[in-house]
Symmetry: C2
Subunit: 236 residues, 2 copies
DNA sequence: TGTCAAGCTGGAACGACGTTCCAATGCTCT
DNA sequence: AGAGCATTGGAACGTCGTTCCAGCTTGACA
């Protein structure tokens, strides 16, 4: 059977938008934001820059697609597990995004860029929907859905964004050491601020040392949840 | 007296870091983020690109300086007025940043970038300090200062960032029309989402139409303030 | 006042990037 | 087998951030 006519290994997987986006995410993860180049991407895919443009409009769209892919995966993981309570559900969504940003440090900047350039593209509704469902399940009256969900989403994006750089690129254990050193450095820097201009920041300099990002992040969520419960009479 | 020997108009104002940063902000405001070029900046300052590098390390530092300058001005305005209550103080800081981002749309992306690249540079402490003072005045126990202030800061940055693109570049009245059209478009787009994937987002599509950004922003702040009061027993 | 080193200027040049262009190649029908 | 079209990938273009360096200005000292 002449199956081996002339295609021993199919030359290679054909190019596709998905393969390109996936390679872009990989490149962003490994070499960082500045490392994503159409030339590097082309080499990674064993092709030329021109071929990529057949599937993708430009770098802006490519970054948007990479961001969307990662966010979609993050909220999909959360949606899979059914939480015990709406509060747990909100925490799950929040931590899903938190972890995604930790895993893909470039995501923080990209999220901000996507959301501020086209606030209601494909990324925002994904996050908004995930949080909103839990807000509804919480028993928030319908008239307050938008306000409550927006507040949670904004807090999550703001907090997760800032915490992005706190995690080193290292693996399992070494990063903890780096992190301790990093927090020590921040704490020390804060203590050397001008006492007249920064009395408060100096006063909390010690609290920053050794604090747990994840815990702080969840404490903020708890604050907002408490606020929602306090202000909006729940219907359950 | 021969004061007019040879210097009728001093050739020109000498280059300085401040002049460069100020020109950069102006350029960012007028031609947008992509329009800030060392060549354009040089032309604006009637000099060459090389001269700029004597005062500034590179584009990254220039953007950081521009961001810092604008943020410093924003929180300085707020600090000038003495608020009636700590709550009013927090609202003042928040609205100060909100307005700054509205006035300088590029600020949203830059804030996110600055905060995620070097989370505790010069920008974060400025904001942190402004909010923190009000939190302290609010009577929050010292052990919760960091948590409460961080939560507020993250919400403010997250919310202000997303609202940046909502305001058109136009002037006083025309932007309101643009804004109404914009919200209509968003609302319409949300209603066309997949009913299976986006039931919640579709349900609130009407609430987005005609909502007031500023009001929503303050509603979120109120939510967090209520949460703080609910969770942390105030000492006043 | 003349001289010299240091601070500062600005234009030319370099390498890398995003993007465009297009000849060559594979694939799918008839 | 051949025509037509989708797809490829490498070369080329213009612009960017950045570097380099020859000249200018300035202020201190002799």
């Amino acid at each position: 059977m002449a199956t081996r006519t002339r295609r021993p290994e199919r030359r290679q997987e054909p190019l596709s938008r998905e393969r390109i986006v996936s390679a872009a995410v990989e490149l962003l993860d490994t070499v960082g934001e500045g490392g994503l180049t159409f030339r590097a991407l082309a080499e990674h895919l064993a092709t030329g820059p021109g071929a990529i443009y057949w599937h993708v409009e430009g770098k802006t769209e490519l970054l948007a697609a990479a961001t969307d892919a990662v966010v979609a995966a993050a909220v999909a993981v959360e949606a899979a597990e059914s939480p015990d309570s709406p509060q747990d559900g909100i925490r799950a969504v929040a931590l899903g995004l938190f972890d995604a940003i930790e895993e893909h440090p470039w995501l923080a900047t990209q999220l901000a860029t996507q959301l501020s350039r086209s606030p209601w593209g494909t990324v925002a509704p994904r996050i908004f929907e995930s949080i909103g469902r839990q807000v509804r399940a919480l028993g928030v009256p319908e008239g307050s859905w938008f306000t409550a969900t927006s507040a949670l989403m904004h807090y999550i994006l703001g907090a997760a964004g800032q915490n992005a750089a706190n995690t080193a690129s290292a693996g399992t254990l070494g990063s903890d050491v780096d992190r301790a050193e990093f927090l020590d450095a921040v704490s020390a820097a804060w203590k050397e601020l001008d006492p007249d201009d920064y009395p408060f920041t100096r006063a909390v300099a010690d609290q920053v040392r050794g604090h747990d990002d994840r815990e702080q992040f969840l404490a903020g969520i708890a604050l907002i949840l408490a606020g929602i419960t306090a202000i909006h009479p729940l219907t359950t």
